[in-house]
Amino acid sequence: MPADIAAALERSLLVASVAIAVMGPPAVALGYLMARRAFPGRDLLAAVLGLPLVLPPTAIGLLLLRLFGSGGPLGREVLGFDLGILLTWRGAVVACSVMALPLVVRTARVTFEGVDPRYEAMARTLGHGPIATFTRFTLPLATRGILAALILGFTRAVGEFGATVMVAGNIPGRTRTLASGIYAAQQAGRDREATLLVVVAVVVGLVSILASERLARGRP
């Protein structure tokens, strides 16, 4: 059992890390865009991005299944090749990315809204291009908030279960994560295993949230 638990933990951490690595930068960029520019449809975009928070995870899972499944818009018939999403760890990454996306975007957006745009204007008057302004001025001012956003997304990804199970399956040894392992153990009445997994998950969650809190408070 300890070997299975270690494997599930490792898989959860791996999937969540990849999900944040892949989804994080675009999500932060999106948050910046929505904080700075009021473009037509911004509110609608915000609403759509927030859907994974509102809909039940199994609904999102079913949507993803239809999207990547055979006959779907990203399925092998339409694309001509198999993306290899269904029933693989890549599917778990996709599901976790989708579920964590709204948290990262919103937190990033709020962070950037807290950075005074006048600093950026000043940087521009001093001759810095838009990218340089962002990387040398905006980003350093927003670092703590962005890190908090990413950690929040990471934590959500570690705990993600409903959508992941539909897209990646709950195959022990291949796509079973900590969260889906807890579910399976509970359902089967293996209470001791379930409790053990819950303890591990709680520790992971506490460490992440504490780290996020410290970052948000910041060290001068």
């Binding site: 006959g71 029933l87 709950n170 399976a184």
Partner: protein, 296 residues
């Protein structure tokens, strides 16, 4: 009524109204809120004293559509409402154990009912086997699998076998049992497919996976594919043989504080009757053989 009396009543009414209005405005806010709340509560509770409360049925998820129809038929003939809570039978059993206010439990396997009877949550005398079911092997419409007997399933070139989790969901356990008792030249069918099993949280999820993945086949209840085309799959094989133990939907009345809910006995009898039997049959749930149906 004379004009004078009518006028007097009008004046009196106006008096009362203005009095009531000013009385409502006087006095501390809390007292006014409480009296308003009490009036509302009395008005609401005064309704429907003579209409019996609906019977709350906890039923296995696979029974949902059939139970809705049977419940509607029961309400039409008796006027008693039927409220339904569906989930995996294991989930329902835990809810009942935790004291959920169910009146009747219809489980997809006997294990949960017998466990709850042993712990005193269900009434053993009312236990009866209501329905049976069969298993079918399904595949994606575009897949080119064909199956004549269950024993051939190991040699079928699928990548994934989509089942409800055999560790916890009755449908998965029945499927595993059936495969484990199917002998081939090279061991049991279960031995040949176990490595390719994808355990789904429930039967419908297992079905959804097969509808999305041509390299997967699945084993689900026949009742789930009564309209197979509508669900996006094709049936490769209908397995007539029953798993061991056979698929039985077992029902029993719930005891709360040692008592049964009035009205639940009538509903259970209705579920056992002819009208309900026809509805269940149409949804793919036959009655089990007569001899097995009496309570223990």
């Amino acid at each position: 009524m004379t004009g004078v009396r009518r006028a007097a009543i009008r004046y009196r009414a106006r008096d009362l109204l203005s009095m009531r209005r000013s009385r409502l405005r006087r006095g501390p806010l809390l007292a006014r809120a409480l009296s308003l709340g009490a009036a509302v509560a009395m008005a609401l509770s005064g309704c429907d004293d003579r209409v019996p409360k609906p019977v709350l049925v906890f039923a296995a998820a696979s029974l949902e559509e059939a139970m809705l129809e049977v419940g509607a038929a029961y309400t039409r003939s008796t006027g008693v409402g039927v409220a339904l809570n569906t989930a995996g039978s294991n989930v329902l059993a835990r809810q009942i154990e935790a004291g959920a206010p169910a009146d009747l439990f219809v489980s997809a396997d006997a294990r949960w009912v017998d466990e709850l009877i042993a712990r005193g949550h269900l009434d053993g005398a009312s236990r009866r086997e209501l329905l049976g079911n069969r298993l079918v092997v399904i595949a994606h419409p575009r897949a080119s699998f064909s199956l004549a007997t269950l024993g051939e399933i190991g040699g079928l070139g699928f990548r994934h076998l989509s089942l409800a989790d055999p560790e916890s969901v009755p449908a998965g356990r029945y499927a595993r049992s059936l495969l484990a008792h199917t002998h081939t030249a090279v061991g049991t069918a279960w031995d040949q497919v176990a490595a390719r099993v994808v355990p789904a949280p429930d039967v419908r999820a297992a079905l959804a996976l097969v509808a999305a993945e041509p390299e997967a086949v699945g084993i689900v209840y026949r009742s789930d594919v009564v309209d197979a085309a509508g669900k996006g799959v094709v049936v490769l094989l209908e397995v007539d043989r029953e798993p061991d133990p056979p698929i039985r939907y077992v029902a029993a009345l719930v005891r709360r504080a040692g008592r049964l809910t009035p009205g639940s006995v009538e509903l259970l009898d209705f579920l056992d009757g002819e009208e309900a039997g026809a509805i269940f049959d149409r949804h793919g749930f036959p009655r089990p053989p007569r001899t097995a149906r009496s309570s223990r």
